[in-house]
């Protein structure tokens, strides 16, 4: 067991990748065998992630050096800097790993029946697993260039998945926009990595952080990295691609795309907290992130309320929710250098934001799956065409209401638990931020009441009279997410103590991340 945990970080990536390329081979022989293989492999990966997360949170940062004699031999004899690719899993990486594992498993189970009639399913599952592997790699790696490679894997497979239904013109357009935006963002990230490499001859995040001098080139690299990651996570005003892509992807894919955005948020945090950390002018960088967050909240929700396409509306709501995370984390970054303020409210703000990340993945995932279920049954996403679906799709409407209330921050669901932490802590930093946050939450409720009113209530129309509940695997996938929403809402303290607090500690504690890599240097 301890050997398994010692090698688990690379095994998680390797098993997902290997399954991705086995899938088409097994799929030729039998569909059932292929589906079983994928579910088993992802369940095994989820088990590994949980075991690894438990180990990281109880003991110490997990380091895995690829190709070294021993996994923890980060700096070989004779060298003074790490030369190999190193995977480094701390509390935040493990937290993100849990989110990715849950959502990709749910997405696969949902797709099994949602895409039953589509052609090219072997390729679909290959791409889905590749995307999951890319995201695992992004959050587990301790190497900047490796981060770039996994980011590209995620975006290329993501674009192919968005454009999967080639019969629709708009999904082709969505895939095109996603890949262009991702290609520009990741090439600029590579440029910034080159700028850093030219000064320090290092690619390892921990080693770079240890030698960071914050020169002029470092500042340029910081700005490029920050705006590229904000572009990838969809913060206003770089959010416009998001609604075009999420709304046209096949039903289960937006749930994964949300997690891909979260992985970009993770990369933004790694850059600002760990890579630059104490050398950074925190209040300026923090305020830039806060302003982007405020804009995201406000523009996201006001654009969402305008939409008549159900998935597009939820996509704009995603922009709004990522605003909450950015505000919480921005406040944390702004007071990072001030231990008194950090203790008083900074840690709590970051706790709320990190907690909101997993909650966001759960309830937005659920909302997208519900929208996919509606599309599966009536074949349109237009709210103007819908009416009275609640008469026949009772369970789906209840699940939608659950996700909507969680997103609006209504107790006792999980969105409330994380939003109250953000409100309370941000209030001590600047009361105006909390006021805007509460206003945005109220508007979010209005957004979802619009959808609930026009899609599920009303008289049942003759043409939708024989619409039935969606097949069982889809319901099961939605219920898993709904159970998570209720559990996280009822036991927020447990979740905070077990996975959120270690993640926040890992963010604040830059020294521990560096020591895990550079510890071998005498």
């Amino acid at each position: 067991m301890s050997t398994l945990i010692a090698h688990s970080s690379i095994l998680i990536i390797a098993v997902t990748l290997a399954t991705a390329f086995l899938t088409p081979l097994v799929g030729i022989a039998s569909k059932r065998a292929r589906n079983t293989l994928i579910v088993l492999a992802l369940a095994f990966v989820a088990f590994l992630v949980v075991a690894l997360a438990r180990d990281v949170m109880l003991n110490q940062i997990h380091v895995y050096t690829l190709g070294a004699a021993a996994p923890d031999l980060t700096i070989p004899g004779g060298a003074i800097v790490p030369v190999r690719i190193i995977l480094e899993v701390d509390g935040l990486s493990a937290f993100m790993g849990i989110v990715i594992a849950i959502v990709s498993l749910v997405a696969v189970i949902y797709s099994m029946s949602a895409l039953k009639t589509e052609t090219g399913q072997n390729g679909f599952y290959t791409l889905l697993l590749l995307m999951a592997a890319g995201m695992f790699g992004m959050v587990f790696t301790g190497d900047l260039f490796n981060l770039f490679v996994f980011l590209e894997i995620t975006s290329i497979s993501g674009a192919a998945l968005i454009a999967f239904r080639t019969k629709f013109a708009d999904s082709q357009e969505g895939g095109f926009k996603y890949i262009v935006v991702s290609a520009v963002a990741s090439l600029m990230i590579l440029f910034a990595i080159g700028l850093l490499y030219s000064q320090y001859n290092l690619l390892n995040i921990g080693a770079l952080a240890a030698t960071m001098e914050y020169t002029m080139l470092d500042r340029i690299a910081l700005v490029i990295l920050m705006s590229a990651f904000v572009m990838k996570l969809g913060g206003v005003p770089l959010h416009m691609w998001l609604s075009d892509t999420y709304s046209v992807a096949p039903a289960s894919i937006p749930a994964l795309l949300i997690v891909a955005s979260q992985a970009s948020l993770y990369a933004l945090l790694r850059t600002s907290f760990t890579l630059y950390g104490v050398t950074l002018d925190q209040s300026v960088a923090g305020w830039i992130i806060i302003i982007v967050g405020l804009l995201s909240m406000f523009v996201g929700v006001t654009m969402a309320i305008l939409q008549t396409d159900i998935t597009r509306l939820i996509a704009y709501n995603c922009v709004c929710e990522s605003g909450f995370m950015l505000v919480g984390l921005g406040v944390g970054l702004a007071v990072l250098a001030d231990p008194g303020a950090l203790d008083a409210f900074g840690t709590m703000a970051m706790n709320g934001a990190v907690f909101h990340m997993i909650n966001h993945a759960l309830f937005e995932g659920l909302l997208f799956l519900v929208a996919g279920a509606i599309f599966y049954r009536i074949g349109t996403r237009d709210l103007n065409q819908m009416c009275g679906l609640g008469h026949t799709m009772k369970l789906t409407s209840v699940l939608f209401l659950l996700g909507a209330l969680a997103s609006a921050g209504i107790p006792p669901f999980n969105g409330f638990a994380s939003k109250i932490l953000i409100y309370e802590s941000v209030y001590q930093f600047n009361p105006i931020l909390t006021m805007i946050g509460i206003l945005v939450s109220i508007l979010t409720l209005a957004v979802f009441m619009k959808v609930f009113f026009s899609a599920f209530t009303g008289a049942s129309l003759p043409r939708y009279r024989d619409v039935r509940e969606v097949p069982r695997p889809m319901v099961a996938a939605m219920i898993v997410l709904a159970a998570g929403i209720i559990f996280f809402g009822l036991f927020p303290g447990l979740v905070l103590d077990w996975i959120v607090q270690p993640a926040t500690d890992a963010l604040v504690n830059q020294g521990a991340y560096i020591d895990a890599i550079m510890g071998a240097v005498p």
């Binding site: 290329i156 674009a159 520009v184 090439l187 590579l190 490499y197 030219s198």
Partner: protein, 118 residues
């Protein structure tokens, strides 16, 4: 050849290519040209990476027993190679999407082929 040029010349070339790439991405509405813009952006970054690893009169980093002390940095060459491969994959995917868009909409103009806005 490179001896006679000022040391920063390749960096200037890389930045100029970067500018050309961004210019195309911003001002050219033809989808194929957008793909070209991304390719040029990629090339500029490849050039930048290779240049920052270059040492004048350096040897290629392929020896087990080192003939001289001065060697070209090997890591950036590996990065460039990886980026070229990723660039090929990206271009192939975008071009196939462009073909699909053309089949559906009958135009290659990024404004005319747009279905979603607002």
């Amino acid at each position: 050849m490179i001896h006679s040029l000022p040391g920063n010349f390749p960096f200037v070339a890389a930045v100029v290519l970067l500018g050309i790439g961004l210019y195309i991405l911003i001002f050219r509405r033809n989808l194929i040209k957008i793909v070209m813009g991304i390719a040029i952006l990629g090339s500029s970054i490849n050039l930048f990476l290779i240049t920052l690893g270059y040492r004048i009169d350096g040897d290629a980093p392929i020896y087990t027993e080192v003939p001289s002390e001065l060697m070209v940095l090997p890591v950036v060459q590996a990065l460039t190679l990886t980026n070229i491969v990723i660039g090929v994959a990206t271009s192939a995917l975008i071009l196939s999407l462009v073909i699909r868009i053309y089949r559906h909409t009958g135009t290659l103009d990024s404004v005319k082929s747009r279905r979603m806005k607002g």
